[in-house]
């Protein structure tokens, strides 16, 4: 490890790359400068005609230079010229970090609200580059992220894109490919492009849901917080499950598709030998057939209470979102575990920041309760996940399992069923666009985790899910359910989120929320005035002077409130439509600056109104404090 490598490593540590790396072999390789992971190709350093070092990769006897052998710096500048007209808030994905020259030149062209995510498929290339080139400037740049190829690359890419592109910032992802990388790593490049496309689609679908449901989600959150203070969280379950060897114990995810009618009774044989996890809509059918499932999950803020009317269901452990239907939560008799999905993020960042002992436990919201449940099982550490009742099509002309309280009528199905999909057994089935999207979600997820998790589709009907192994449920139980585990007891032993004096600390913190909001309101008023003043300066052509500089300083602070102020996420969840409208104006490069500034001022007003709504809600709903 030479001095250049050490400098680069130091930069990685400062950005917490090593802490955040979920692949131990990559983390170790970066820390030591040596990798056990064998590269597909030979990698070496050569030089251009100006004696600057360049990286070369030999594949099947042919040597590709990742930079020009004539003028490596000049060629990188030419490449970056292709992307010298960024749009605000765009995210750039660069497939192929190489020696970092292209990334550095592209970054020079970007606005301070653009991001560049570099994906380097080969850890050996990263180590060679870190030994030869000083890329600490890149690594230290807040607008730069690095992803290194590993079995979870696509998941990591999805996580990072979903993290940086939130619902209020629906700007495109631009996908760039460094020369040579598509020839050398074609499959990975193609998969990364598809993942980026998929994330954009998912964000559009989820953001539409958020706008529609924002009011009811906010109300549910404020009503349900009481039950988190007295209850538990998904992270605590994840930590408890780490004590169990799950390699030979499958999880069975029971969804409410019509095929569940065929094999629901077979589940009895899996009791005590698998973790039987039901989505909300499947609960009633399971009770009707006396199946002892271990836990149930819900998430939809408007899920009808009728799915949980059976008293037996309401004694089960429930994994829910904090914004789940409050009528379900307040009538629950069993243990409650809240996860981080949906408003969980707002809860962590804004409402309970500083008092939560740990995060609530991440669950990826794929758009349906089944996709959420699947993500939850992955987070719990299961290596075999079995899908039951996961039709994702109108099998046998039905929408759901027998007994589902909101069964679709023939007319509903005729209206919705406009697409065709290949079935489990090769026949063609009718489905709708939304279910097709979920099929694609499962397929992408299965592909992303295939080296780590086996997914078995034991639906015995419904749409074919590429990548899943098709088996009957009886076959699964005979071959995979061979070890016992008392999951009921495990869930009983999961600790609460707040215990002892932490309960009071939490309550005290919640009592202070109205005052915190009022303090933030004062800042927002100051920001609003500054935006208006700056707009007037721009209209008059004033761009310097004492007053201008003073105002500019406040405007700069206001522009950063989204990143610096913890309460921002809570406040904007109460004015989400306005946030979207505001972002559309800000992202329009052709809008005159004074108009953009007035939109920012209006946004501050919307946030102030939102604060007033929140304080009213607190007075109404938090008497229990």
């Amino acid at each position: 490890m030479n001095a250049v490598y050490e400098k680069n490593l130091e930069a990685l540590k400062k950005r917490h790359y090593l802490d955040g790396e979920n692949d131990k072999s990559i983390e170790e390789a970066l820390s030591t400068g040596q990798s056990d992971i064998k590269s597909l190709y030979d990698i070496n350093i050569s030089s251009d005609t100006m004696d600057k070092s360049i990286v070369c990769i030999t594949k099947d006897g042919y040597e590709y230079a990742l930079s020009s052998r004539v003028d490596s710096e000049g060629a990188a500048e030419i490449y970056a010229e292709r992307f010298n007209n960024p749009e605000p808030f765009e995210t750039y994905c660069l497939f192929g970090l190489g020696d970092g020259r292209i990334a550095r030149n592209v970054l020079k062209n970007l606005y301070d609200n653009n991001l560049l995510i570099a994906i380097e498929p080969d850890i050996e290339v990263v180590l060679t580059v870190m030994n030869t080139f000083d890329i600490s400037d890149l690594i230290s740049n807040d607008q730069f992220y690095l992803l290194i190829g590993n079995p979870r690359l696509y998941e990591n890419l999805q996580d990072i894109l979903e993290g940086v592109i939130n619902a209020g910032t629906i700007a495109p992802i631009r996908f760039l490919i460094s020369p040579g990388y598509d020839a050398l790593y074609y499959d990975m490049c193609d998969s990364c492009i598809k993942m980026a496309d998929y994330v954009m689609d998912a964000i559009r679908i989820n953001s539409n849901t958020l706008i529609k449901m924002t009011d009811v989600m906010n109300l549910n959150t404020f009503k349900n917080i009481k039950y988190l203070v007295e209850g538990s969280d998904f992270r605590s379950i994840i930590d408890k499950f780490k004590e169990i060897d799950l390699r030979d114990i499958p999880a069975i995810l029971v969804s409410a598709g019509p095929s569940l009618d065929k094999n629901i009774d077979d589940l009895k044989r899996a009791e005590g030998k698998a973790f039987i996890f039901a989505v909300d809509s499947a609960a009633r059918a399971l009770e009707n057939h006396n199946i002892n499932y271990n836990a149930v999950t819900t998430g939809d803020a408007e899920k009808e209470y009728s799915v949980f009317e059976d008293d037996r269901t309401r004694t089960k452990p429930l994994i829910a979102e904090i914004s789940s239907n409050y009528k379900i939560i307040e009538n629950w008799k069993g243990r409650l575990f809240f996860d981080q999905a949906a408003m969980g993020y707002v809860l962590q960042k804004s409402i309970l920041d500083g008092v939560l002992p740990h995060d609530l436990g991440g669950v990826e919201t794929g758009g349906s309760i089944s996709t959420n449940a699947f993500s939850a099982l992955m987070s719990l550490g299961f290596k075999t996940i079995v899908l039951v009742g996961q039709d994702l099509a109108f099998t046998g002309g039905k929408g759901h399992v027998e007994g589902f309280s909101d069964q679709e009528s023939d007319e509903d199905l005729k209206f919705r069923g406009i697409e065709q999909v290949e079935g489990w057994d090769g026949t063609m089935l009718t489905t709708d666009a939304q279910m097709r999207y979920y099929v694609r979600w499962f397929e992408k997820k299965i592909e992303a985790v295939k080296d780590d998790i086996t997914v078995i589709d034991a639906t015995e009907g419904g749409a074919k899910i590429q990548g899943a192994i098709n088996m009957t449920l009886n076959e699964v139980i005979d071959t995979r359910c061979t070890k016992s585990c008392d999951f009921d007891e495990v869930l009983r032993s999961v600790p609460n989120t707040f215990e002892g004096e932490n309960i009071n600390k939490c309550k005290d913190h919640l009592k202070k929320l109205p005052d915190r909001l009022l303090d933030y309101e004062k800042k927002l008023k100051k920001f609003k005035e500054a935006y208006i003043k700056m707009s007037e300066f721009i209209k008059k052509g004033i761009t310097s002077g004492k007053e201008f500089d003073k105002t500019y300083k406040v405007v700069k602070e206001a522009n950063k409130t989204e990143f610096k102020e913890p309460l921002y996420h809570l406040v904007t969840s109460f004015c989400l439509r306005e946030v979207y409208r505001y972002k559309n104006i800000v992202m329009d490069k052709d809008k005159p600056m004074d108009e953009v500034l007035m939109a920012c001022a209006q946004m501050m007003d919307d946030c102030i109104n939102a604060i007033e709504k929140i304080i009213k809600l607190i007075k109404k709903e938090w008497n229990w404090l």
């Binding site: 042919y62 590709y64 230079a65 990742l66 930079s67 020009s68 052998r69 004539v70 003028d71 060629a75 030419i78 490449y79 010229e81 292709r82 490919i177 460094s178 020369p179 040579g180 598509d182 020839a183």
Partner: protein, 93 residues
């Protein structure tokens, strides 16, 4: 140095194509490359027996360019064109 209209266009075409290739614009770059290689070859063919070292370098880089094309090596193609362009200028072609 006599520059005939045809060869002047060739120099500009070489520069433009090298730029497209360095920018990894695959479709455009690959479509234009072999016709350009053919035109360069036709332009230098009369001088191949002249003994000029510059012409030899052009011929070598034409071969390298074609090899790079076979491997979809955009940088390899661009580099060979850049060298060819420089040598064509040097020997007044």
């Amino acid at each position: 140095m006599a520059i005939i209209n045809g060869e002047e266009n060739l120099t500009i075409r070489i520069q433009n194509e090298a730029r497209i290739l360095y920018q990894n614009s695959e479709q455009e770059g690959l479509n234009n490359f072999m016709p350009l290689i053919k035109d360069i070859t036709n332009a230098v063919m009369p001088y191949t027996t002249s003994g000029s070292s510059e012409v030899q370098i052009v011929l070598q880089n034409l071969q390298k360019g074609v090899e790079a094309y076979k491997h979809t090596d955009m940088i390899g193609m661009a580099d060979s064109l850049l060298i060819i362009g420089g040598k064509l200028n040097e020997c007044g072609l």
